[in-house]
């Protein structure tokens, strides 16, 4: 590894950290602007002014905003996400298990969807404008166009109700055997796969088609390589940067955007946790989850940037 590439990567990471800090400010400011105050919502309408004032002092609400921000940020940096107002539980502990559940689901959806999407993209290019291409594109578009709750209920109807192959409610608990857990997440993972497949597949197809115009593709064809080898060996490596980008965007969606699917399958993940606590106006939880989602999003985008940098032979091997 050479120094220019390390410099670029270091720049991206530094930018990411800066961005994350900016987001934390925004999240904090946003929740401050919301009407009402935490003490009021804890104690309810019938609270006496004295008890309100006491609680405010206890929660530190009388401090100026920037002091509270740094206290909050300091807590997060040391692993203390605060306490949920609605339940009084430590947020870090309750998030721990749920974050793991969300990542577990996202991981398996990604393991299925990413290779599938890229292979389908390669196939679509191989048989471009033929019936195979049109079939792949058509099905992929159809699966994206249906809202995820529709696909979700469709799968539940067939696989859970009619054929009883998989559970319709994805209950998971600590110490659950791996296979049982896999069976539980089969349907939500399938829904997520169908939702993200088309986007990745179509971007793969477009990125590779773009490269197929290059002179070196002709060189490869004139070496007598088969069409699929030309695409795999010569077109794909040059299309990798845009593909990494779209893959990372979809990975981020798998982690951050799964609220609807988690609700349908009553899956104990982050999305459901967030929705519950938004409804309860539990500000510390919303802040913590928001920050974690932002961190995931920013990290994956940094990974995409770094992937694109590393995939570029000109940066990897300077003159």
């Amino acid at each position: 590894m050479s120094s220019p590439i390390l410099k670029l990567i270091a720049q991206r990471i530094a930018l990411g950290v800066l961005l994350l800090l900016a987001v934390s400010v925004l999240i904090f400011a946003g929740t401050q602007i919301l009407p009402g105050d935490v003490a009021q919502s804890i104690l309810g309408q019938s609270a006496t002014p004295e008890s309100l004032a006491n609680l405010r002092a206890e929660l530190g609400l009388n401090e100026p905003a920037y002091v509270r921000y740094f206290t909050w940020l300091g807590g997060i940096l040391t692993g203390d996400l605060g306490t949920a107002l609605s339940s009084g539980q430590d947020i870090a502990t309750s998030i721990g298990g749920r974050l793991w559940n969300t990542l577990f689901l996202a991981f398996w959806a990604a393991v299925v969807s990413i290779p599938l999407a890229i292979s389908l993209g390669l196939l679509a290019v191989r048989y471009r404008n033929g019936w195979v291409d049109k079939l792949i594109s058509g099905l992929a578009l159809a699966s994206t166009s249906f809202p995820e709750f529709f696909i979700g209920y469709l799968l539940v109807y067939f696989f859970a109700v009619k054929w009883q192959l998989f559970p319709g409610i994805s209950t998971v608990y600590d110490g659950m055997p791996f296979l049982a857990r896999m069976q539980a997440i089969a349907l939500p993972a399938a829904v997520l796969t169908l939702v993200v497949l088309a986007h990745m597949m179509r971007m793969t197809r477009a990125a590779i088609l773009n490269v197929m115009q290059s002179a070196y593709i002709e060189t490869a064809e004139l070496k007598g390589l088969s069409a699929i080898d030309v695409i795999r060996r010569h077109a794909f490596p040059n299309a990798i940067a845009p593909i990494i980008n779209v893959v990372m965007l979809n990975l981020a969606f798998l982690i951050v955007g799964v609220v609807v699917v988690e609700v349908i399958f009553v899956y104990p993940g982050m999305g459901q946790y967030l929705v519950d606590h938004v409804a309860k106006r539990d500000v510390p939880v919303v802040q913590a989850v928001g920050l974690i989602f932002a961190a995931v999003y920013i990290t994956l985008n940094i990974v995409a940037d770094i992937g694109a940098i590393v995939a570029n032979p000109r940066l990897r091997h300077p003159k």
Partner: protein, 551 residues
């Protein structure tokens, strides 16, 4: 390879080849056009046939047909392509794939584009050998290294570990030749392999290709538009025009006793006589000690450059790519403000930055570019394109403007009817003419011509040069003529500046610059220009005093 012994003496026999394509003209129904009209040719084992002609002559199309390949929807619709005794057009997709990269290999015009940027050179060079199972990886790599050495590439043991962007254009072209030779084919199709290179680099690559052909005994189809180049490597030459055979004969006969008028025109293409004008009393534009760099603190691309341009005369700036010729133009026009030095115009200094120059100064300096088609807005008609400077500089409108556009079209020897056409409907030469008319419309004192004929066929380029000379007499316009082609310089310049690595190494009137004694670099440039003479290449290589920069 079994059956090597029985391979027929006649390697390639193309009979009555007909190639068609479907074109989709805007606003019309798609139609079929015939690109190659029943052309026949034959090539014996180990011989070299040069295919020559202008663009659209069908030479690449014919060359690629030997690999059963049609570029961009081109179809082979008739005839036979007999290779090693069988008609490859009958052998199906799989059969054709088996011969590509094994029996026939291809060397493209731009090796820089034809190598995959994502893979190491070695992996690409031996790919065809591995694909067709002509040897193990170790054997193929060994052969590749031998070929690198034969093609006099630097560091032949390790150059394969590099990526394409780490190697110069001339070297890449040689690596591509090694790639074609690596799988020991019977035939190589060279498609303009030296056209994109500087003259000084071209001569090295040409010599390397010639040696490699001789030592390996491979047969070759050598496609080019440059007769002097093809005369150096070919045993026979076939002249093509509009997809038809014009003349086919031995190299000596074609270049010395051409039987067809068209061949004769190709042979004598560079002969324009232009008498040098003596410099006037005072130059109207002086570049004084200009130093310039891209980016602050970047390497100096121009170092202390001084030249003068006299009214109605032509200063030619010659040099290889990277010598700073185009940067000089950018400094004069203000696109790249010089770090030091001044540009004076009519006795007063011009503002360094383009943005600081008044409209009148902008009008006096116009430019014409190498790529005429990207220098015009494809969605504007020729009339709008030429009329734009008339509106901008002179405020002409309506009928007055149209009249002037018609006059200008007349000057560039194109009819009024072209005013309503779009650039896409014009040929390469016509596009460049429109660009000339556009620059003339501003009535400038100086037109900077940046490689304006480099992308054109020789005969078309010749027409453009004649037009430029004629216009200079009529309009008393001066040219700053940037080129790497010394033949062009001889036919158009009054004075010459030779540039090398950002410096002017030789400067003066044409007669002085082109007369001995020469400095080493000018000598290298002059001796690298291919001459229509068998055996020129060997003589030129022997007589050289310095290595070319591309090496």
């Amino acid at each position: 390879m079994a059956g090597q012994a029985q391979k027929p003496e006649l390697l390639l026999d193309i009979r009555k080849l007909r190639i068609e394509a479907t074109v989709y003209p805007p606003g019309e129904a798609p139609k079929n056009i015939v690109l190659v009209h029943d052309v026949s040719l034959s090539l014996k084992r180990g011989r070299v046939l040069g295919l020559i002609g202008e663009s659209g002559a069908g030479k690449s199309t014919i060359g690629l047909s030997a690999m059963g390949y049609g570029r961009g929807g081109v179809r082979i619709t008739g005839g036979e392509v007999m290779l090693n005794g069988r008609d490859i057009l009958q052998s199906g997709k799989r059969g054709i794939r088996k011969l590509r990269g094994k029996e026939v290999c291809y060397v493209a015009q731009s090796a820089a584009a034809a190598f995959n940027p994502a893979h190491k050179l070695m992996d690409q060079v031996i790919e065809a050998s591995l694909e067709h199972g002509t040897g193990t990886r170790a054997q193929a790599e060994k052969r590749a290294v031998e070929l690198f050495r034969k093609l006099s590439l630097p560091d032949p043991e390790n150059i394969g570990e590099r990526y394409p962007h780490q190697v110069s254009g001339g070297q890449l072209q040689r690596v591509m030749t090694a790639m074609a030779l690596c799988s020991e084919p019977d035939l190589i199709v060279f498609d303009e392999p030296t056209t994109a290179l500087d003259v000084t680099t071209q001569i090295d690559v040409l010599a390397a290709i010639k040696d490699a052909i001789r030592d390996t005994g491979v047969a070759a189809l050598y496609i080019t538009h440059d007769l002097a180049v093809v005369a150096q490597v070919s045993d026979e030459i076939m002249v093509l025009r509009h997809g038809r055979l014009v003349e086919w004969g031995g190299t000596q006969q074609i270049i010395k006793e051409p039987r067809q008028e068209y061949t004769n025109a190709l042979v004598s293409v560079h002969e324009i006589t232009h008498d040098e004008q003596v410099p006037g009393e005072a130059p109207f534009l002086s570049v004084k000690n200009v130093t310039a760099a891209y980016g602050r603190g970047g390497p100096k691309v121009l170092k202390d450059v001084s030249v003068d341009i006299y009214p109605g005369q032509t200063l030619a700036v010659v040099g290889e790519s990277g010598s700073g010729k185009s940067t000089l133009a950018r400094a004069i026009t203000g696109l790249l403000p010089p770090e030091q030095g001044t540009v004076t115009f009519d006795g007063r200094p011009l503002a360094n930055r383009l943005a600081d120059r008044p409209k009148e100064d902008l009008r006096q300096l116009q430019m014409i570019y190498q790529m005429a088609d990207v220098a015009m807005n494809p969605r504007q008609t020729v009339g709008t394109i030429i009329g734009r400077p008339l509106e901008f500089y002179f405020g002409m409108r309506g009928a007055e403007r149209d009249r002037r556009v018609a006059e200008l079209l007349d000057k560039i020897e194109m009819g009024k009817g072209f005013a309503d056409r779009y650039p896409a409907e014009l040929s390469g030469g016509q596009k460049q003419r429109v660009c000339i008319a556009r620059s003339l419309a501003a009535k400038p004192k100086l037109i900077i011509c940046d490689e304006v004929t480099s992308a054109l066929d020789p005969l078309v380029a010749n027409g453009i040069l004649k037009l430029l000379l004629g216009l200079q007499k009529e309009e008393q316009v001066a040219y700053l003529f940037i080129t790497h082609d010394l033949a062009t310089v001889k036919s158009i310049a009054d004075s010459i500046a030779v540039m090398y690595r950002g410096e002017v190494v030789r400067y003066g009137p044409k007669s002085k610059v082109l007369a001995p004694p020469f400095d080493d670099y000018t000598d290298l440039l002059l001796s690298s220009v291919p001459e229509m003479e068998i055996g020129w290449l060997e003589k030129a290589i022997k007589g050289r005093r310095m290595e070319s920069a591309g090496n």
